[in-house]
């Protein structure tokens, strides 16, 4: 008989009581997701690494105020979103963020030609994402990359679901337009 993995809520509750081990499990569960979200918000691998660490440190400090009614994942992404936005504000570059040139966007395997084509498409997509306003970019990332529902995005960003729906549609339209322009 196998024991089921503890839920986020259980780990978060233990972390609230000062359990470093439980918090480390949450870090390992979410570090990739937080990193890739922040990476595409700020466009720099080094800054994304630093901000991911800061997000978890901030979460640790704020955990005593966390209430079990709030889903841990949305609560954590809210912190990450604020971290990314603060970083963009400090840089005074909120509109356009391009990924580092030397950053490898995919770890897919396949024949070299397919791999190259996939990389090119993903790089073009990343470039188009970087041109989106940050509020549209974060909505489309949370929906299409992190698979959050409209209700979860609404809770994460503290905006209503109608705004999520319209912002997401605008983001997708803009992305299509940028990509078509790039291909033309």
């Amino acid at each position: 008989m196998t024991q089921s993995e503890p839920t986020d809520r259980e780990f978060a509750h233990l972390s609230q009581q000062g359990d470093h081990g439980a918090f480390s499990r949450l870090v390992r569960r979410y570090q990739d997701r937080i990193y890739r979200f922040i990476l595409r918000m700020v466009g720099s691998h080094d800054e994304a690494i630093e901000l991911t660490q800061d997000t978890f440190i901030k979460a640790w400090q704020a955990l005593p105020e966390w209430r079990p009614e709030a889903e841990f994942r949305t609560w954590l992404f809210r912190i990450a979103s604020n971290m990314a936005l603060d970083c963009l504000r400090r840089r005074k570059v909120v509109q356009f963020v391009a990924l580092d040139e030397n950053y490898d966007v995919s770890d897919e395997t396949g024949n070299p030609e397919t791999l190259l084509r996939t990389k090119q498409r993903l790089r073009a997509l990343d470039l188009a994402l970087g041109r989106l306003p940050h509020d549209q970019r974060e909505v489309v990332l949370l929906r299409d990359v992190e698979d959050m529902s409209y209700a979860e995005i609404s809770a994460t960003l503290r905006i209503n679901e109608g705004t999520v729906k319209s912002r997401l549609a605008r983001a997708r339209e803009a992305l299509l337009a940028y990509r078509k322009r790039e291909n033309a």
């Binding site: 870090v27 991911t52 978890f56 997509l125 409209y150 549609a169 997708r172």
Partner: protein
């Protein structure tokens, strides 16, 4: 022939691919897109783009951030366990301290009364009892032999 104004907004098509529409509008929009030369291709593009976006989920930092984060965590003081409110034992535990406080208070009041009222207290003694005093009537002290008549 249908015009472009009959088409649902992109917002509805976008919500359709996310399965975030109620049953009725979902069926209406899906059946419209199936025949519309404008909405059909747009729906396909949105769906393809969403799949491409999803492939970005493979991005990883390439390093485990756990040890560095754990090193930076400040220790959090554990809350001390408290006994249940209204426990009968809690009251009894205070008894020794209460008794000590009461005895200190009583001693203080007694000493205070002696100091303030002691000078004014005169013990009335009957004159007949003076014969039993260690100092004879008219004597000054007990121990000095010159004070006594020695039976002469």
């Amino acid at each position: 022939m249908k015009s472009e104004s009959d088409c649902p907004r992109t917002e509805q098509l976008s919500a359709l691919i996310d399965d975030e529409l109620a049953a009725e509008p979902r069926e209406d929009i899906a059946s419209h897109a199936a025949v519309c030369p404008l909405c059909g291709p747009l729906l396909l593009e949105l769906t393809e783009q969403r799949a491409l976006m999803h492939s970005l989920a493979g991005t990883r930092p390439g390093v485990d951030l756990g040890p560095e984060i754990e090193r930076r965590l400040a220790p959090r003081p554990r809350p001390r366990p408290r006994p249940a409110e209204g426990s009968w034992w809690r009251g009894w535990r205070l008894a020794p301290a209460g008794l000590a406080a009461a005895s200190v208070l009583a001693t203080g009041i007694y000493s205070g009364a002696l100091l303030t009222a002691g000078a004014g207290i005169a013990v009335a003694r009957p004159t007949a009892m003076a014969a039993f005093d260690p100092v004879p009537p008219g004597g000054i002290c007990v121990g000095v032999p010159s004070c006594y008549s020695r039976g002469r």
